[in-house]
Each structure stands twice: as structure tokens, then as C-alpha cells.
């Protein structure tokens, strides 16, 4: 089956909503196992004590990226129909900065 499944109507959008819960459960489970339920652990990167945040995020990004390239290469996903966040440099820079400031203050 060539993905993405829901946009190409191989799966219905109702099934997509069921999948939302499943994806969320997996997302939450792995974040918890990584220790991201703990604000002390999340903020420890900013005190040069524990780089789990960077390691987990970067590993996930690289795994997903290689997986997408692989699936695209063997023709199992149409890379052209993936949603890519549009580029708005200033809002994204300022938004990222604000989230970083808020993250170390709020703990999440």
C-alpha cells in the first residue's frame, strides 16, 4: 500500500482519527520512557547535566528521516504529498525563542 494512506483515501478519515489515538499512545509512552515526564530531566540539558532531550529528539528525527527516504526510494510513500511546515523565518525564530525561554521557566 502506497502511503500516505489517509490522504490517498486507502484509509478513511475516520480510520485516521482512530489512528490518532494509537499514534498518541505510542508518542506518550516513548516520551515517558525517555524520562520526559520529569521537568528536572527536561531542563537538565540547560545545565549541561543530561543531554537526553537532544539525544532522544535527534535520534527520532534521524530515524524518521531515513525511514521516509527509504519508503520513498522503494516507492511505498509519495514524498511529494507530505505536509512540510511552511517557512516564515521571523515568526519561527521568535516563536522558537519564546518556547525555549518558557520551557526552562515552566519545565515543559
Amino acid at each position: 500500500m502506497k502511503g500516505p494512506l489517509v490522504p490517498s483515501e486507502i484509509l478513511s478519515s475516520e480510520m485516521g482519527l482512530v489512528f490518532a489515538v494509537i499514534a498518541g499512545i505510542l508518542f506518550g509512552f516513548f516520551l515517558e520512557r525517555a524520562g520526559f515526564g520529569s521537568p528536572k530531566k527536561l531542563t537538565a540539558i540547560f545545565y549541561f547535566q543530561d543531554f537526553a532531550v537532544l539525544r532522544v529528539m535527534f535520534t527520532a528525527v534521524v530515524v524518521a528521516m531515513i525511514g521516509l527516504l527509504f519508503l520513498g526510494g522503494i516507492g511505498q510513500i509519495d514524498l511529494g504529498s507530505l505536509a512540510i511546515p511552511p517557512t516564515y523565518l521571523w515568526p519561527q525564530a521568535l516563536g522558537g525563542l519564546l518556547i525555549g525561554l518558557g520551557f526552562v521557566v515552566g519545565g515543559y
Binding site: 508518542f27 545545565y47 525564530a93 522558537g96 518556547i99
Partner: protein
Amino acid sequence: MMSESPAREEQAYWSPYLAGVGLGLTLLLTFYVMGHGLGASGAFTQWTANLLYWVAPGHAQANTYLSAYLKVGSFWQSWIVLEIFGVLLGGFLGAVTARRFRFQIEQGARISRRGRLLLALLGGVAVGFGARLAQGCTSGQALSGGAVLAVGSWLFTLMFFAGGYILASLVRREWQ
């Protein structure tokens, strides 16, 4: 070998690389099924739009930003809202099965409970505003946008870490 099994002992966190692979495969699967990645902050915007519509429908529809969210329909037809319910459930299951589920407010010893909660509120306001400005948070931009090499998402990620390091020394007492 210990003679008594430490039944109540909390499991250690996974290696960040193992957890990262699990997270990356979840993200990959989401792209394969949905054509988009994972998110988080958008669920709060959806709730805001639906709640505002419930209280003041005319006002919600007149708001250009929020009215786009009203086209989704109810809470239960919103992909990201359902995903976030899943996240709560998954996090809960993870904590319970690792025997570390407990009610607590984590903080350093040198800050009052009130101070910690006040800072949590302030931080939350900054994160919420920043996430709307950037059209996403660490999930939608850094993780999902990062995996498809979106230029703005990588700029977002760099600025996110910069922001954390800028304020870290000022709030050291809150965590250490």
C-alpha cells in the same frame, strides 16, 4: 541475586537512543498513515476555538484565526485533539508500568511551591504564545518539521535551545 524481588522499585528510564528510535518509528508511521507528523500545541488551539464557540459563537466565527479551527467540527473530529488524548493515556500507561506514577510537583529545594507554580504559569504563557507564532511547538516544528528538513523548523529548533540557555542561569534554583 537478590533474595527478595524489589516489586515496588521504579524502572530506570530507557536509553535515550532506544526511546528515540521508538519515537522516530512512531513519527515515521504517522507520516506513512496521515501524510503529516505529530503535534501537541494545536490541540490547545482547537480547544480554545471550540470553547469560545460554545460561549460566544458569533465572536468565535468573526475571529479569522479561530474560525479556521471551527471548520474541523467538534473536539472528536480533530486529529490532534484525539492524538493528545492518546498521549495522556500513553504517558499514564508508561508511568504506571514503570512504577513511577505519583502525584507530585517536581522542583528544586531552593524555591517555594508558589514560586514554582507561578513560573510554570509564566512559562506556559510564553510557550503558548510562541507556539502560535511559529505555527507549532517542539512536536510539530522541531520533531515533525525537522524530519522533513523544513528550513523554518530547524531555525525554530536552534532558537528553542538558544532560549533555554539564555534563561537557564536565572532560574537555576527552580530545578537544581
